[in-house]
C-alpha cells in the first residue's frame, strides 16, 4: 500500500475492516466482507460506495459546452444545466482515450467525470484542442464521490437530514439528470447515475464534508439494510449490467463502434475528434464487436482468455464472472465481426480446457427501475 493515495474515507474503510487494494494509484476497498453479500445488498436493498478515485475535470468559459462537444463523440449541444450524458472521447483514428460522464453544471461550466487511471492522459488529450476562451481544472482533490445504489437508495437519501434542502429534487430527478444544492460545508452535486444498473445517485461532495455525510447515510440507511460496498461488487454489478469498463471492454486500441457504443457516437455531428475515421468504420463495418457468452457450468472465462469460433481464435474475453444474480457463468468478449457471422460453434479456452459457449444478448441484466 506504499505510495498509494488515499480517499477521504481511508479511516472509515479501516474501521470497517475493509480489504484494501491498489487501484489506479489509490488505496481502495475491494470488499468489507463478502463481495457476493455486497452485490446482493445493492440488488435487493442499497449499497454505499466510495468512488472518490474518479476524476472530476471542470471546463469553464462561455464556449465550455461547444468545446466539450468537439472533444466527445456524443452530442452535448442540447444538454441543459442539470443534464448528464455518457460518452467517450476518441483520437483521430477513432480509438478510445476514455469513457466519461458529461455533467452540465451551468451554461458556462461543464464537469467531466473520468476514470481515475486516465486523469493525466485525458488532461493531456484535452489540451491538444484549441483552448482559447475555456479553462480546464482538475477538481478531483476537491470532490469526494460516493454512490448510493439500489432499490431503496432514494428512500434512504430522502430520510437524511443533509438532503432536506433537496427533498423535492431527490424525488423528481430523472435518470441521467442531476442537481446541486448548498449544504453546510459547501455545494453538493448529485446525479441520478450509477454503475450498477440499479436506481441510485452519485454524490459529489466537498472533501471536508465527505466523512460526515457517509456516516449519516449509513446511519439513516441502517433500517433499510444499506451496506458499504467495495470495488469487487462494483465490478460484478457493472458486469451484469454490461457496462463497459476502461481497461477491459475499452482501451487505447478499441473503437466505440467495436465496443457496442455506437449509440454515443453521433456521426451526424458537424465535427469532433475521430469523426472521419468513425464514419469510415461505420460504413465498412467495425473489425470487432462486443458480444456476450454464457458458459455451461461454473468455470469462469476471465479477461484475455481466447474465444474460439469453429476451432479458430476469433477474439478475447474482456470481462467474465459467475453472475450472482443470474446464477450463470457469463462473459463479454471482443470477437472478429466477420468470423462471428459464420461461426456455428463457440468455445472458450479456460486455462487449457475449451468449454462450449452460447452467445447471449447484452445487457445480461436490466433492472426495472434505475
Amino acid at each position: 500500500m506504499r505510495d498509494l493515495k488515499e480517499t477521504p474515507f481511508a479511516e472509515v474503510h479501516r474501521a470497517l475492516g475493509a480489504k484494501m487494494v491498489g487501484f489506479a494509484g489509490y488505496a481502495m476497498p475491494v470488499a468489507y466482507g463478502s463481495i457476493l453479500a455486497e452485490h446482493a445488498a445493492v440488488r435487493e436493498r442499497a449499497g454505499l460506495f466510495d468512488v472518490s478515485h474518479m476524476g472530476e475535470l471542470v471546463v469553464t468559459g462561455d464556449r465550455a459546452k461547444a468545446f466539450v462537444n468537439e472533444v466527445v463523440t456524443n452530442d452535448t449541444t442540447k444538454l441543459a444545466p442539470g443534464d448528464l450524458q455518457y460518452t467517450v472521447m476518441c483520437r483521430e483514428d477513432g480509438t478510445v482515450v476514455d469513457d466519461l460522464l458529461v455533467f452540465v453544471l451551468d451554461e458556462d461550466r461543464v464537469m467531466l467525470v473520468v476514470n481515475a487511471a486516465n486523469i493525466e492522459k485525458d488532461l493531456a488529450h484535452i489540451r491538444t484542442f484549441d483552448m482559447s476562451g475555456v479553462e480546464i481544472t482538475d477538481r478531483s482533490e476537491h470532490y469526494a464521490l460516493i454512490a448510493v445504489q439500489g432499490p431503496r437508495s432514494v428512500e434512504i437519501l430522502r430520510s437524511c437530514p443533509a438532503f432536506a434542502p433537496a427533498e423535492r429534487q431527490l424525488a423528481d430527478t430523472a435518470y441521467y439528470h442531476g442537481f446541486r444544492f448548498v449544504s453546510e460545508g459547501g455545494e453538493i452535486l448529485m446525479s441520478r447515475t450509477g454503475y450498477t444498473g440499479e436506481l441510485g445517485f452519485e454524490i459529489f461532495v466537498p472533501t471536508p464534508r465527505a466523512v460526515a455525510l457517509w456516516k449519516e447515510i449509513m446511519k439513516v440507511g441502517g433500517v433499510h439494510g444499506i451496506e458499504p460496498v467495495g470495488l469487487g461488487a462494483r465490478d460484478t454489478l457493472r458486469f451484469e449490467a454490461s457496462f463497459c469498463l476502461y481497461g477491459h471492454e475499452l482501451d487505447d486500441n478499441t473503437t466505440p463502434l467495436e465496443a457496442g457504443l455506437g449509440w454515443v457516437v453521433k456521426l451526424k455531428k458537424e465535427s469532433f475528434r475521430g469523426l472521419a475515421s468513425l464514419r469510415e468504420e461505420k460504413k465498412r463495418g467495425p473489425r470487432r464487436k462486443l458480444v456476450g457468452f454464457e458458459i455451461e457450468g461454473r468455470r469462469i472465462a476471465r479477461q484475455g482468455y481466447v474465444v474460439l469460433g469453429d476451432g479458430d481464435e476469433i477474439g478475447r474475453v474482456t470481462s467474465g464472472g459467475f453472475s450472482p444474480t443470474l446464477r450463470k457463468s457469463l462473459c463479454m468478449a471482443l470477437v472478429d465481426r466477420v468470423s462471428a457471422e459464420t461461426t456455428t460453434e463457440y468455445r472458450i479456452d479456460v486455462r487449457g480446457k475449451t468449454l462450449p459457449a452460447r452467445m447471449t444478448a447484452l445487457p445480461f441484466y436490466e433492472s426495472r427501475a434505475k
Binding site: K19, V30, A31, S34, I35, L36, G232, T236, G297, R298, R299, I300, R302, G321, F322, R351
Partner: protein, 128 residues
C-alpha cells in the same frame, strides 16, 4: 478446532488423519479461503482417480481470481464433498468442517511427516 491430527502444505491445503485409518480428509485453510474471497466453484478430481502429492488435483474459482488445488498427499479419491456443487461458499464459511474437499485413501503415511504442523503453518502465514 483441534489441529493435532491436521497437517498443512505451503500451498495452504490441509489434511486431517485419523488413528487406525488410511483415509484422510483434505481441504484448504482459513487463510487461503479468505485470501481468495468469495468462492463460486470448486473443481475436484473424480472418485476413484489418483492424486499425487504436490501435483494439481483441482481448481478453485473465486469472484476475483482462480487458484489451483494441489494434492497434499498421494492416494486414491474415495469421496468428494458433493455439497460444494451447490454451495461452494461453504469453503469460505467453514473451511475446516463443512467446506472440506475430498477424502482419499493414502498410499504412504510417511508423506504426512513432510507436512507442517499447525504451529509451523501459523508461523508461515503470519509472515505472508
Amino acid at each position: 478446532m483441534n489441529f493435532e491430527r491436521v497437517r498443512f502444505t505451503k500451498e495452504h491445503e490441509w489434511v486431517r488423519f485419523e488413528e487406525d485409518s488410511d483415509v484422510v480428509t483434505i481441504g484448504i485453510t482459513d487463510f487461503a479461503s479468505s485470501e481468495l474471497g468469495d468462492i463460486v466453484f470448486v473443481e475436484l478430481p473424480a472418485v476413484g482417480s489418483e492424486i499425487k502429492a504436490g501435483e494439481q488435483m483441482g481448481t478453485i474459482e473465486a469472484v476475483k481470481t482462480v487458484a489451483d488445488i494441489f494434492a497434499p498427499v498421494s492416494g486414491v479419491v474415495k469421496q468428494a464433498n458433493a455439497e460444494l456443487e451447490d454451495n461452494p461458499e461453504m469453503v469460505n464459511r467453514s473451511p475446516y468442517e463443512e467446506g472440506w474437499f475430498l477424502k482419499a485413501q493414502i498410499a504412504n503415511p510417511d508423506e504426512l511427516e513432510r507436512l507442517m504442523k499447525h504451529e509451523e503453518y501459523q508461523e508461515m502465514v503470519g509472515k505472508e
